[in-house]
């Protein structure tokens, strides 16, 4: 690999720059256009009484609010559980547990969201609480994995340097390891949000509402306008959440990185 890879790197960074610009401005424009087009299409239709029962301001707002509530609470719980646990498991005294936990996190990825959610709801009961437990159970492992990998990839020589400067292990964690792992943890939070927005779409099957209600109603009643409204709303929500989390993540990352 002695041949200078410089031009390749340059085009690559130019590409990722275009991609970033496209994501920064293109995403909101895309979301707004699709929402507007759907709104105009639906308002141009003559809705029958079955469609009117779902496609009105009250039902749609309620479904959206339920969806936001499920996503918000479950993501907050996942952050509270998975990030401290990830830090704990990577401490030197518990290092031996790290490969075991990582292996468990990898193996757990084979469990389907639909099945896991149903099982947790069977254990904790139908309704909002059971669904929130299910969402937490499904998204904890990937976030735990992300946190652990984020802390593990901190350059060991930096930790040694900090120790050499006279910092205690706790100070090293707070002032070196954590700040350096922040981007990876933020990426983990973003992933948790996306997973939870997506999985919360299934909440309607467990009596917890959400935008999945609109989609499934459209499927069951064979009403395409209802189905499309549900699909567009939940997709726009997921893309907006992803977009906002990305922008906030970039602002919150330590400046040196």
């Amino acid at each position: 690999m002695a041949v200078a890879p410089a031009p390749v790197v340059e085009t690559e960074s130019k590409q990722s720059q275009t991609r970033k610009k496209l994501a920064l401005f293109g995403t909101p424009i895309f979301i707004i256009t699709v929402l507007l087009a759907t709104y105009l299409w639906i308002s141009s239709l003559e809705l029958d009484s079955i469609e009117m029962r779902v496609l009105n301001k009250e039902v749609l707002t309620e479904s959206l609010m339920e969806h936001l509530y499920l996503t918000g609470i479950s993501t907050a719980l996942v952050i509270l559980i998975a990030i401290p646990l990830g830090i704990l498991v990577t401490r030197p005294s518990l290092k031996r547990a790290t490969p075991f936990v990582l292996g468990l996190a990898n193996a757990g990825q084979a469990i389907p969201s639909f099945g896991l959610l149903t099982i947790v709801v069977i254990w904790f009961g139908i309704g909002v609480q059971g669904v929130i437990f299910g969402l937490v159970a499904y998204s904890t492992l990937p976030i735990l994995r992300n946190t652990m990998i984020g802390i593990q990839q901190v350059d060991k020589s930096l930790i040694k340097a900090a120790r050499g400067m006279g910092m205690s292990t706790r100070q090293v964690l707070a002032r070196v390891e954590m700040p350096l792992a922040v981007p990876v943890m933020l990426a983990g939070i973003r992933t948790a949000l996306i997973i939870n927005v997506g999985t919360a779409t299934l909440a309607t099957f467990f009596g917890a509402g959400g935008l999945g209600f609109v989609i499934f109603n459209g499927i069951q009643l064979n009403r395409d306008p209802v189905l499309v409204t549900g699909v567009v709303m939940v997709s726009a929500l997921a893309l907006s959440v992803d977009y906002l989390a990305g922008v906030i993540g970039r602002l919150a990352s330590p400046r040196g990185l």
Binding site: V3, I111, L202, I215, L227, V228
Partner: protein
Amino acid sequence: MDFLDYLSRSGDNLFELSLEHINLVLISMGLAILIGVPLGITAHRKTRWNPIILSGAGIMLTIPSLALLAIFVPIFGLGAPPAIAGLTLYALYPIISNTVAGLQSVSPAIVKASRGMGMGSWRRLAKVELPLAWPVIITGVRVSTQVVVGIAAIAAIVGGPGLGNEIFRGLRSLGSPGAENLVYGGTLAVVIVAYLFDAAFILIRRFTTPRGIR
């Protein structure tokens, strides 16, 4: 009724549904490879298209899976087709991004050498670049497959085939005795199918990687 009773009684049914599930995943992944690898090659060669192709496929991963499957119901009706269409879109991103990464990892010296040997652009792609990028591409396919096996369980909601039907049947009869067994059985079978696919990929990767870089 206890779980072992259920297994011995519905073993045949679970096996049947597992075959449907595997079939659904194979068809979707086949389509995703047929679409994704050429898109990856295009993104690698025509750098202007790179951002559009990658962000476009990335959006599919952000969209909730039920929404991605359901949006094809107005087009194809209920059944396997909307499930296949949705799963194919879901599988694209890892395949495309790994195809690009794999092709970019091919050393420029090797590309130059093959050009010096008189190979044209397409022959170089087929004989040199794709074989060298293959291990990275197949890893992308493996990642996609793992995700798709899990999401295929949702296919039952749009009338599709596979193990989701067992979970859905259990879910709808929750409260009646033994209903949870259907959910446990369906979920367990999905996990087993996922591990089978993963094992298959270890073999496929071993036997399809060119001998020179194994």
